[in-house]
């Protein structure tokens, strides 16, 4: 047996630039379409209509504008989910094609950009079959129960990813992350229901597997997020997002705020104004080397937590390598074997939406939400000398857009761009994993969850609780 430790790298880089360019163009144009549509709906419903109503004189104008504003988050999510799912399926197919030296879909539309739109239309027009012996009511309810929570789950995240835009504050719950987790625990009911109602043995087994898997992996998933909440001292996703602003060192993935002191101290050193380096360090790390050890432990713990979260999330949404409920080679298609037409489309839609939501949670909880990874002292845009002339140069154009029409809200805009970039990078990583790893076996999956992940997260929870005491957080 000959396996050397080296990574085998591709040896002919003769270039796949054309395909990569196509992929990039396709992604960018789709993302533009998605977010322009969502932003347009939000703007129309949340800003434009209230603006018009403000000038009108009929008596319930105020109430109507409030209703419009209140409906904005829901409208945004409803517009976003189907278009985004189309894009994600297309992105997945094209990315897998890149990894496997193929072209991917390239027939419908320019370079296949409309392939999934065509697929969606096809799925909606397909005959909707309910198998003989199926429990028709449960069979119909299952995809709805599977899909609905993903809409509700997405709502509290809206404020967190848009830098607390005031249109989305209506769903800014103090128990934000708890709400998201509660919503994400519901879909498994849909799977079990669909699996049982299909009157098919393969479906039933898929449903049972899904129940076992989702319940087991919910624990490490929740524990990893709870640990982050412990570090942050709040359950509110918006505050957690805010706490992480100020560059990579402040993100939860690196110590969950343990490095904020270091960040501030370096900033003080660089700007050579305000408090001196040592003083800042002392304020944040009061116990000398013990504090530094604590910070190091926290960094390690949060990185592991991030990994645990990714694994748990993968299992929760049935992605490879945890796609046991729909294991093709064993259970045909698992719980959705008997589904066709629009019901299958809903299952499909919900799967990809769930992937997007767990990626967004990861971004909000670990990766600094809409924060630029460059620390403030390294970011040229944070210095007035750079920033002000730029702002002055652009102001004639921007002032109309920002102040008169409220078309752009600068803090939201940049935050949203960063969130989009980070989220789709995570999704891309999920696709890469899908292209590489084989599937777990159900008992190994259980072993891995109960015997590895849960103890690890429990140990980390205790470690974090102690290490937190030796560092001053968020002074």
């Amino acid at each position: 047996m000959k396996i050397d430790g080296t990574v085998v790298r591709g040896d002919h880089f003769s270039g796949n630039i054309a395909e990569i360019r196509k992929f990039a163009v396709m992604s960018l144009s789709w993302l533009t379409v998605i977010f322009v549509a969502v932003w347009g709906v939000c703007w129309a419903l949340g800003i434009f209509i209230p603006m018009c109503l403000a000038n009108s004189s009929f008596d319930f104008a105020a109430i109507l504008s409030e209703v419009c504003k209140a409906l904005t988050p829901i409208a945004a999510v409803l517009v976003f989910i189907p278009i985004n799912a189309m894009f994600m399926v297309l992105m997945e197919r094209r990315a897998l094609a890149l990894f496997t030296r193929r072209n991917g879909p390239n027939r419908v539309g320019p370079d296949g950009a409309l392939q999934t739109a065509a697929d969606a239309v096809k799925l909606l027009l397909k005959e909707d079959i309910t198998p003989t012996g199926a429990d028709a009511l449960m069979f119909t309810l299952a995809p709805i129960i599977f899909f609905a929570p993903s809409i509700f789950g997405a709502l509290p995240l809206l404020a967190a990813v848009t830098n607390n835009h005031k249109l989305f504050q209506i769903v800014d719950l103090p128990t934000g992350i708890f709400y998201v987790l509660a919503a994400s625990s519901v879909p498994v009911v849909g799977i079990v229901m669909g699996g049982w109602a299909s009157n098919n043995k393969y479906s039933l087994m898929g449903g049972l597997r899904s129940a076992a898997q989702a319940i087991s992996y919910e624990i490490p998933l929740v524990l990893s997020l709870v640990t982050i909440c412990l570090l942050a001292g709040t359950l509110d996703v918006v505050s957690i997002a805010y706490q992480q602003s100020g560059g990579l060192l402040n993100w939860n993935i690196l110590g969950g705020g343990a490095l904020i002191g270091l960040n501030k101290a370096i900033a003080a050193l660089v700007s050579s104004s305000g408090a001196p380096f040592a003083e800042v360090m002392n304020a944040y790390y009061p116990y000398g080397w013990l504090s530094f050890v604590g910070a190091a432990v926290l960094c390690m713990c949060t990185v592991i937590l991030f990994g645990v979260y990714l694994i748990g999330a993968c299992a929760e949404i049935n992605r490879i390598p945890f796609d046991l409920p729909e294991a093709e080679s064993e259970l045909v298609s698992g719980y959705n074997t008997e589904y066709s037409g629009i019901k299958f489309a809903i299952f499909f839609l919900a799967e990809f939406t769930n992937l997007f939501i767990v990626s967004t949670i990861a971004v909000v909880m670990f990766l600094g939400s809409g924060d630029c990874p460059l620390p403030t002292w390294l970011n040229p845009l944070s210095y007035p000398a750079v920033y002000e002339p730029l702002a002055k140069a652009l102001s004639p154009v921007l002032s109309v857009l920002i102040n008169d029409l409220h078309l752009i809200n600068p803090p939201t805009f940049w935050a949203a761009l960063w969130v989009i970039f980070k989220t789709y990078s995570l999704i891309f990583f999920a696709i890469l994993v899908r292209g590489t790893l084989p599937r777990f076996r159900i008992d190994q999956l259980m072993d891995f969850g109960w015997k590895r992940l849960i103890p690890i997260t429990l140990v980390i929870f205790v470690l974090v609780a102690f290490a937190r005491g030796v560092i001053n957080f968020h002074v």
């Binding site: 496997t100 080679s329 084989p438 777990f440 076996r441 159900i442």
Partner: protein, 376 residues
């Protein structure tokens, strides 16, 4: 005597389930009747015959010349070997001396075909294990190259009809040999890449290590052959044990694992076999002489002397034997095929006993069975 303990009886319903004939992972139309307790297989019954085409009977009702073209369909992933077994059996009866160049060409094509067959197995095996979307394409890319070589010399990608009684059908051009040589240089790097992805992957190890252990005794009792047998630690390869053609002149190893014989060993056995085949091909490309390629005229009236003969070749799946009785006419009198897949499949029920349902495909795939070869 064990101490009898009172156990609470949690008797769950047993479930009978039909895996196949229409199932994404049964590699054709195999039907397995499984009795499951939860996810654990209690009993397996393979049901054969969904792809039975009476290949032996067809052989007896066709002329030698016609049957040569049909026989590739028995094991469509390694058509060269079925043709070779038939040709060798006929040559044994006839006493035909096959030209040296033809023998080398046969070995060359057969080893290429062995690689292509193992490549298809590698891709589909990873599909069986759930790596459905990325990895399986890589072996198929390489397999495609080999099929293109075959297409060039025989005219088709899978139904070659290239090895004939008394030689081979067509003499490849010099460029063809060059292309094959390039392929042999490139191929080991590709295998390294696949091994980097798969071999030591923890999930793959979990799915294959210690799963489906086929002990020497069981393997011998069921007449298992090929890499499946060698992975169980029995050094039995026809190319060594009963050398035929020009194999005695070639240097190669037969990868044997003197270990437990689980699915991972079977995987490694095939990977190593591919590497060995590449070595053989390199040697053949160096040694191949010039000369005739056919010693028996190929036409509709092809006849074999009266008599009977048996010949076997080491196909990618095991020993592929062909027994023929000829009565001197243009049709064989009696055909009998010994197909490796049939005996390799028979060992499935004992291997599956008490295994979870996910292991069915891990074990079944590792046996590398092809259904037309089972049913004929």
């Amino acid at each position: 005597m064990t101490i009898q303990t009172k156990l609470p009886e949690f008797k769950t319903d047993e479930m009978v389930i039909n895996l196949g004939p229409q199932h994404p992972a049964t590699h054709g139309v195999l039907r397995l009747i499984l009795t499951l307790d939860g996810e654990v297989v209690k009993h397996t019954e393979p049901v054969l015959g969904h792809l039975h085409r009476a290949q032996e009977w067809q052989g007896q009702n066709r002329t030698w010349f016609q049957y040569q073209a049909l026989i590739d369909r028995v094991d469509y992933l390694s058509g060269m070997f079925t043709s070779w077994a038939l040709s060798r059996a006929a040559e044994v009866i006839d006493g035909t001396e096959v030209p040296r160049r033809a023998e080398f060409l046969r070995v060359l094509c057969a080893e290429l075909n062995r690689i292509s067959s193992h490549l298809l197995w590698l891709g589909t095996y990873l599909i069986d294990l759930g790596a459905l979307y990325g990895f399986p394409f890589y072996p198929f890319i390489e397999r495609e190259k080999i099929l293109t070589f075959f297409e060039e010399i025989s005219g088709q990608r899978m139904m070659y009809n290239y090895i004939r009684i008394g030689g081979v059908q067509r003499d490849p051009k010099a460029e063809w040999f060059k292309k094959v040589e390039e392929f042999t240089k490139d191929f080991p790097k590709r295998v390294d890449e696949w091994e980097a992805i798969v071999t030591e992957n923890p999930i793959f190890l979990n799915r294959t290590k210690g799963i489906g252990v086929l002990t020497k005794e069981v393997a011998q009792a069921y007449g298992v052959t090929g890499p499946t047998l060698r992975a169980s630690g029995i050094d039995f390869d026809l190319r060594r044990f009963k050398p035929y053609s020009v194999y005695p002149e070639l240097k190669f190893d037969v990868p044997v694992y003197n270990k437990d014989g689980d699915t991972w060993d079977r995987y490694m056995a095939r990977i190593q076999e591919m590497r060995q085949s590449i070595e053989i091909i390199k040697q053949v490309l160096d040694m191949i002489p010039e000369g005739e390629i056919m010693s028996k005229k190929q036409n509709a009236g092809l006849r074999i002397k009266a008599g009977e003969g048996f010949a076997a070749v080491e196909s990618p799946r095991g020993i592929l034997g062909c027994y023929i009785t000829s009565n001197g006419s243009d049709k064989p009198y009696r055909f009998r095929w010994r197909n490796p897949s049939f005996s390799n499949l028979s060992v499935l029920p004992p291997l599956l006993e008490e295994r979870p349902i996910s292991d069915i495909m891990a074990i079944f795939g590792s046996l590398d069975i092809i259904l037309p070869d089972v049913d004929r």
